[in-house]
């Protein structure tokens, strides 16, 4: 732990890592709360796995066609948005087939990604860092992109708070009040897609869903209103990403997995605590 604090002063990669975690936490807390209360975790999972297609394709173009500007994160953003819109339209137009389509998009996205990564010349260590995250590898360029995405997601998530709240709570009623419910539902899925991309840099594709939902689910047990849930869950996420990074640094553990284990532990402790509280009250 002390090793982490000492190195944090000197090593820019650690500062970038810490900052990435903190920035991603804000979007995660806000959008995660919408996702958990609207119960669309499974959609978020589908979007997360499709990100691999974008990461793989962009990396392939970088190496094979020398498109140096095409950072894998751009690919991730595009893939996530496409997945969000496809799943969103299907869930609006053909609700009974929603789960099938999510499953299909999920698997096809991964398959495309794996093919690109397999065909990219050079070492294939990228795959591991995409799947399980490598927060220590975040560069200055990436940090700017992450900050930009974060500002976008947080601004939209807060600006349309009342509409999104109404659509998540009672879509039909919102529609009757003249709110374009389909638009806001798709907006929510797109914001979820961007948040997923942010979180992929922190914990990797496979564990995104845990970071998106565990803090929000924890916060939900102690919140009476959605914004309280967002605030609490943002603080929670900042806490676990920062301490996950700090705890994993000394013993050289994977930061992503450490973060998720911490989040899981706090979530379980939260359930026990809220049970105890309600037992005491009654």
């Amino acid at each position: 732990m002390s090793e982490f604090l000492i190195d944090l002063h000197q090593q820019t990669f650690l500062q970038y890592a810490l900052l990435t975690g903190i920035l991603a936490s804000i979007a995660c807390g806000i959008i995660g709360s919408y996702v958990v209360s609207r119960r669309i975790t499974y959609i978020a999972g589908g979007i997360a796995h499709t990100v691999l297609a974008g990461l793989g394709a962009a990396r392939y173009c970088q190496v094979v066609f020398h498109c140096d500007w095409l950072h894998p994160l751009y690919g991730a953003v595009v893939a996530a948005l496409i997945a969000a819109i496809v799943i969103g339209l299907v869930s609006l137009k053909a609700r009974q087939r929603e789960d099938t389509v999510i499953g299909a998009v999920w698997a096809i996205g991964m398959a495309i990604g794996i093919l690109f990564i397999f065909k990219t010349p050079g070492y294939n260590e990228d795959l591991m860092s995409y799947l399980f995250g490598n927060i220590l590898m975040v560069s200055a360029d990436e940090l700017w992109l992450i900050a930009g995405l974060d500002i976008l997601v947080v601004t939209a998530g807060l600006l349309f708070y009342n509409q999104l709240l109404a659509v998540c709570f009672d879509e039909e009623f919102a529609r009757l009040r003249g709110i374009n419910a389909d638009f806001y539902y798709l907006l929510l899925l797109c914001l979820t897609a961007l948040t997923v991309v942010l979180l992929v840099t922190v914990v990797g594709i496979v564990m995104v869903i845990a970071l998106l939902t565990l803090p929000a689910a924890f916060a939900g047990q102690f919140s009476k209103r959605l914004w309280q849930m967002m605030l609490l869950s943002t603080i929670f996420t900042m806490g676990v990403t920062s301490s996950g990074l700090a705890l994993s640094y000394g013993p050289d553990l994977p930061a992503g997995a450490t973060t998720i284990l911490l989040a899981g532990a706090v979530y379980l402790a939260g359930i026990v605590l809220s049970r105890l509280l309600s037992a005491l009250r009654s």
């Binding site: 209360s37 600006l159 009342n162 039909e172 009623f173 009757l176 003249g178 939900g220 959605l226 849930m229």
Partner: protein, 252 residues
Amino acid sequence: METQPVIELKKVSFSYDGITVLEDVDLIVREKDFLSIVGPNAGGKTTMMKIMLGLLKPSTGSVRIFGQPPAKTRSRIGYMPQHASLDALFPVSVLDVVLMGRLGNGNRFGLFRKSDRETAMEALKEVEMDEFTKRSFSELSGGQQQRVLIARALASDPDLLLLDEPTSNIDMAVETELYEILKQLNEKITIVLVTHDLGFVSHYVKSVACVNRRVVVHPTSEICGEMIHEIYGSRVHMIRHDDITGGTDTCV
């Protein structure tokens, strides 16, 4: 000259997946009417309400609300959906829920003004829930939640109130309170509600539309056990609180 009807359905039919839910429905609801839509499960009650709201389009026939297509007059309708359709764990306060009734009243980014909050508070007062403003919606009892949902519908400043099963999963005493509130509101606005307990509601409403694919409208005075038997096709116990203050129940 007669005033323009609030709701006018002409020869409305609706089918879903080839099954006819409503057939040849004619219905006129006039200003300050208090209409109850009754009928067996899957008889088309909710479908009829959704057609009035413009959420469903009839296969044939025409729908006019305040003389216009429903989509154009939605802002004048206050709607309360079936309670079961809402997520019981959603983190939202009572005031948050009622404020949703103020959405779409010209506030672009959905930021509520002071006047929106005042209207919401007034609506809560009408249903006697103004002391619960800051409480979590999910902590409330079934009857309290129903009242908050009525307040949300009222917050839209409606000229027409549509309620879908407002008394499902609440007990008799609370139900009486709820109908007393509705009766008062009816002095100002037209109310249409869907319910399955015809006998009880007949004490409060002015007319009853019996829906079982087809629709027959009766003034309340005509309601009797035989008629219920006819609609439901089986023997139904009819409970009527003839003397509410005394609390005696008369079973017919």
